[in-house]
Amino acid sequence: MATPLLLQAEHVAKAYAGIPALRDGRLSLRAGSVHALCGGNGAGKSTFLSILMGITQRDAGSILLNGAPVHFHRPSEALAAGVAMITQELEPIPYMTVAENIWLGREPRRAGCIVDSKALNRRTRELLESLEFDVEATAPMHRLSVAQIQLVEIAKAFSHDCQVMIMDEPTSAIGEREAETLFKAIRRLTARGAGIVYVSHRLSELAQIADDYSIFRDGAFVESGRMADIDRAHLVRGIVGQELTRIDHKVGRESAAECCLDVQGLSRSGEFQDISLQLRQGEILGIYGLMGSGRSEFLNCIYGLTTPDAGSVTLQGKPMPIGLPKATIRAGMSLVTEDRKESGLVLSSSILSNIALSAYKQLSSWSLINARKENQLAEDMVKRLQIKTTSLDLPVASMSGGNQQKVVLAKCLSTQPVCLLCDEPTRGIDEGAKQEIYHLLDQFVRAGGAAIVVSSEAPELLHLSDRIAVFKGGRLVTISSDTALSQEALLSLAS
């Protein structure tokens, strides 16, 4: 081969208590390239990555780093050998500066114990400049945006002389513009000869950034090749294992004339200003905007999680109470929150009580729960949403991301809403589950409901919604019913 292989993994396997999580993991990473690792939930990607990082130990297989076999027992060993990982959950120390975070535990010292802050800041500036990252060395971490924090994490990894960088869903928490910054940084890294293993559920961005790809399915390697040689459909086929019939959900969908939700002049200082829009029955309205455009804040405010400074919300002709989720739920609204773990689910509780959580008013009399009704509701929902589980009593924490998201949807549907608000409903879940959720939303509006979907994935909105509202800097820029709009056009409207 022309370019040397940085990392080569062959036949890596791992089983938990006799049940294989990874049967045959393979990866060949070339120096100076970005390698996309694709697969649905449960494909074995996470297990594979944690073996690479030494978080878990492999049962079988070999890993070569620069041609030499390695076996890491803990992440620090991997780091020392030049393998670093940037995970979805970034955990900087918020009230320390960028420099202090990067050199934590390795601070330059004087007289053995006094931190030499001059040297510390100088080194950090040199490092950030060499990587061309636009971050101030002395800025405190808690002032930085998510994307900037990622840059700091990357810089930290490079301060360890890292050769192989694993990025697990790096764009899941950031918007398009920040993603651009990240991609620029990635290109700069590859130019220096580093290799990147890149994991993302957003297939469109893989085409943009990756040079090579590998697909895992059901715990085993399926195929790999050059990204340039294949198209998106090929990738989806490989991940799902079958031809995904991409149904055009919008065909034959007709929204009624009646207005379901009417928002007039809604404002909340520092978040969004003077937003008016109408949602018709039987319609999906997409909201597109970058991070900080006020799209999530707008949804939360309609739902009553925050109180607006001005404006009104009317649902089916009735004015909505302000700042009271309990009342908006009763009036027929439901919110699928942006982060299911943070604000959608009670992870420690069972699937059953999560599904029923909002609906106990209907499921009880004199506040005594009718267990039969509760079970019936949960079982109906499991069937309707095709939630895969063996028992309703299992904690939701044990489920995959896609199934957890369906439980959130089930919870929201259990109150029989007329208006469903969805904030990033397909974030971090695999392609198959995404399609199922699209189908569900479509069914919901066809049955007479109405939905608002906020998403930072333009293709998703173009595919799903009847109209798209674009938010920018807390204001509504336009509402377009032209669904033939291109992704680029949307992005340029939003930025």
Binding site: P20, E342, V346, L347, S348, A397
Partner: protein
């Protein structure tokens, strides 16, 4: 596709079922084991009288622990139960000695406890003071008020009807045991069969999700401190009846035993997980250890060591369980 197929190989059903049952039966198993060991060590351990004594001795801590379970389920803590117990005991005894009758006296105690609970709840839910700090303040305030209330003196000469709450028997079973059993049953049912119970779990498991799901998080948080105060008040009444006088210095550091019972019972200090049944076993375990070591004539120093070890072990099992998951 069948709706109930196995999801991912990462969560094998057989294993989780085993783990579920271990979670559920682990503590009773330890408890039974301890009882068997004790039964072989002392011929008097397995006597009816001894068990009645264990239950009677456990009843005060048990009542406190039931309230504490509610608080800890919401990720809170109530350090003031010992002081509230003393305050309520004194209030109730004062009413009793004024000749207002049993019902008035008991209600006065429970009301006094609940009112201090209201203050706790207000501080935590409405003023957003961390529960540890708010109830630490109350620990001191309530104790001081107890001494102020009767100028530091105990209230004695309680009427016989009142004393029956601590000393009396209903058939072969002591009244404190019956009170404890009724309290445990009621609060177990509330937690298990009512919407309020589910809300308590939801608020402790994930406050944000609970709020999004339309649950009045503040109300629920507020209410658990009232529950805890109310039960501390009841425990105070029973304690003064059992010691035949309401002592202002009673109940010092009782909060620690109550927390220990809850934690040993498998309730997670990070909220959302736990049961009243677990707490019952936790309280009984502490009762049996104290009783057993007394029967065997082991020094109280070892008793403290044993209790401490069991608390740490119980939490260790909890941590280990979470890691495995």
């Amino acid at each position: 596709m069948n709706a109930k197929t196995i999801t991912a190989p990462l969560t094998p059903p057989a294993r989780s079922r085993l783990r579920l049952s271990l979670d559920r039966f682990g503590l009773p198993l330890v408890f039974i084991l301890l009882c068997v060991v004790m039964a072989f060590s002392s011929e008097y351990f397995m006597t009816w009288r001894n068990w009645m004594d264990i239950l009677r001795q456990t009843s005060i801590n048990g009542i406190l622990a039931v309230g504490m379970t509610y608080v800890i389920l919401t990720k809170g803590i109530d350090l003031s139960v010992g002081s509230i117990l003393a305050f309520a005991g004194l209030c109730s005894a004062l009413v009793a000695t004024q000749g207002y009758g049993l019902l008035a006296a008991v209600s006065a105690g429970m009301f006094a406890g609940a009112m201090l609970g209201v203050v706790n709840g207000f501080m935590v839910a409405n003023l957003s003071i961390p529960p540890f700090v708010a109830t630490l303040g109350m620990l001191s305030i309530a104790r001081g008020m107890t001494f102020i209330l009767n100028d530091g003196s105990p209230v004695t000469d309680l009427p016989d009807a009142y004393l029956a709450l601590g000393i009396g028997k209903l058939g072969p079973i002591g009244v404190p045991i019956i009170i404890f059993a009724v309290v445990a049953l009621i609060f177990w049912m509330v937690l298990r069969y009512t919407t309020y119970g589910r809300y308590v779990y939801a608020v402790g498991g994930n406050e944000k999700s609970a709020r999004t799901s339309g649950i009045g998080v503040r109300k629920v948080t507020f209410s658990v401190y009232v529950v805890s105060g109310l039960l501390a008040g009841l425990a105070g009444v029973v304690l003064s009846a059992r010691t035949t006088s309401a002592l202002p210095q009673a109940g010092m550091s009782y909060e620690l035993d109550a927390i220990a019972a809850v934690v040993i019972g498998g309730t997670s200090l990070s909220g959302g997980v736990g049961t009243i049944v677990g707490t019952l076993f936790g309280a009984l375990l502490i009762g049996v250890i104290n009783n057993g070591l007394n029967l065997l004539g082991v020094s109280s120093y070892y008793q403290q060591v044993a209790k401490g070890l069991i608390i740490v072990l119980a939490v260790l099992i909890d941590v280990w369980r979470k890691k495995k998951r």
